[in-house]
């Protein structure tokens, strides 16, 4: 399943709550103010979602961030996570949602 993270983790507990119930194979999209999770150590260091150190196959797109929202805010994917977080556009966002059985928004 896919989790859409729509609020800043510094302001809202929603990402925190999502991580508490997420499964190891779930996918995540950071969007809107949710992209500020890229600045949040608790997210970047989360063992559950960044668990697969050997799997750097970007086609899996397990952790994604909406590129427009990233650019708008002047953020970049941290060097440490260049292999594990992928920036996607809206066409890929659509595919991502349709490739998952369920999508849940967190706000």
């Amino acid at each position: 399943m896919l989790h859409l993270i729509q609020k800043s983790p510094f302001q809202s507990q929603c990402l925190n709550e999502c991580l508490k119930i997420a499964g190891a194979n779930d996918s995540f999209l950071l969007m809107l103010d949710g992209v500020y999770a890229l600045q949040w150590p608790d997210f970047l260091n989360n063992k559950l979602i960044f668990n697969d150190s050997e799997n750097t196959d970007k086609r899996l797109q397990k952790i994604t961030v909406l590129e427009d929202d990233l650019l708008a805010r002047g953020l970049v994917i941290p060097e440490t996570h260049k292999d594990s977080i992928v920036a996607i556009n809206y066409t890929q966002f659509v595919e991502l949602t349709l490739n998952n059985s369920k999508t849940l928004s967190w706000f």
Binding site: Q6, L32, Y90, T91, T97, F107
Partner: protein
């Protein structure tokens, strides 16, 4: 495939409404269908034809209208949530004896059954809040 949208955000207070529009355009361009866009909670303000943004701002109601006209989208605003928040079609205005109204086709007011119908008959329903 097909995907419906549930929009909960006030059009000009949250970037979410702009994101929903982009998502809808991308899905339609990719050949997917959108059986329904359902507006609920703060999202019921999206259909007001009285929206008068500045010239360098998006006109969100107008963008939905154009998209709906091009792709024959079904834009449904929750009637119970809309009435209390002051979003009325001319029919509802007449029913409640109001002289003014602010919702016109292709937006329509209908019940929550339309949200259930969208959820049951779509591969996915995506919430923008």
């Amino acid at each position: 495939m097909n995907v419906s949208l549930l929009i909960l955000s006030e059009p000009y207070s949250s970037q979410s409404s702009l994101s929903a529009l982009k998502y809808a355009k991308a899905a339609l361009l990719a050949g997917h269908s959108i059986p329904r866009v359902f507006f609920y909670h703060n999202g019921v303000h999206t259909g007001s034809q009285l929206q008068t943004p500045q010239q360098d701002e998006s006109n969100i109601q107008q963008e939905w209208v154009e998209l709906a006209n091009e792709y024959k989208l079904d834009l449904v605003i929750c009637i119970a949530a809309a009435l209390k928040r002051g979003n009325l079609t001319v029919d509802e205005a007449n029913r409640y004896d109001r002289q003014q109204y602010n919702i016109e086709a292709p937006f329509e007011l209908s019940g929550l059954g339309q949200l259930l119908d969208a959820q049951l008959n779509s591969d996915q329903m995506i919430t923008f809040a």
